[in-house]
Amino acid sequence: MLSATFLFYLFAGLAIGGAIGVVMAKSPVGSLLFMVTALAAMAGTFVLLEAHFLAAIQIIVYAGAIMVLFLFVIMLLNLGHDYEKDLKGGAFAVVSFGVIGGIAGLRAQQLGATGMQDGPGGAAIDALIAEHGAVGAIATELYTTYVVPFEITGILLLVAIVGALVLAKREV
């Protein structure tokens, strides 16, 4: 049996590799595929963190729907033939990347080090899952406490669809 730790590092490695691939890939389609990899790997980490529903959503909505949307656009616009100018070099960007990465990592390390091994939230979520199941745990909250924001996101999506239509339409 693969241990959870091993699986985590496996997914982490895949995610990081995918992410680097996204940035470095020459063709947009390549980037997109790396992105799908990264998203899927992150879905794996979600599972390891007991967020089963989110993992599923991640695969279905993100890696599925959104990425396909991107792919459509890339295909539609017939991109990917001028990538020689695409990647900006620049030592400065790389250095700043290093610094940012360093600081961000340190910050994360610091936060994690202050006794965040596995707080009370983990137990509560486990209890909820035990009671309502993986979907039910999140759904209960979503349809009770966060029902108004939830509805608002619905409106947001509607607006986004209309907006996208208007923007993408050739003639108004």
């Binding site: 947009p28 390891l48 963190l49 949307l69 990538y83 695409d86 990465g101 986004a160």
Partner: protein, 97 residues
């Protein structure tokens, strides 16, 4: 595990940021932004292990917003492309004045 997840989140976020900074292809920049969002999502999920289910709820909302954003953003890219015949962000400086 939480610490590791947070560190992973940070690394992914930074890679995403780097991507936004160094790529000129608007689509790929967009992908990198999605990557950043996902990195944040990972943090939320990790924190939910400490503070409760709300973290996951947030991730849900973030995903929704990301979907909406992707739709609108891609529409913008399409309309820009129609105008400039390129999605290279150096080619247009719409934000100037």
């Amino acid at each position: 595990m939480i610490t590791e997840a947070l560190v992973l989140s940070a690394i992914l976020f930074v890679i995403g940021t780097f991507g936004v900074l160094v790529r000129r292809n608007a689509i790929i920049m967009f992908l990198c932004i999605e990557l950043q969002l996902n990195a944040v999502n990972l943090s939320f999920v990790a924190f939910s292990r400490m503070f409760g289910i709300e973290g996951q709820i947030f991730v849900f909302f973030v995903m929704t917003v990301a979907a909406a954003e992707a739709a609108v953003g891609l529409a913008i890219i399409i309309s820009i492309f129609r105008h400039y015949e390129t999605v290279n962000v150096d080619s247009f400086n719409l934000l100037k004045w």
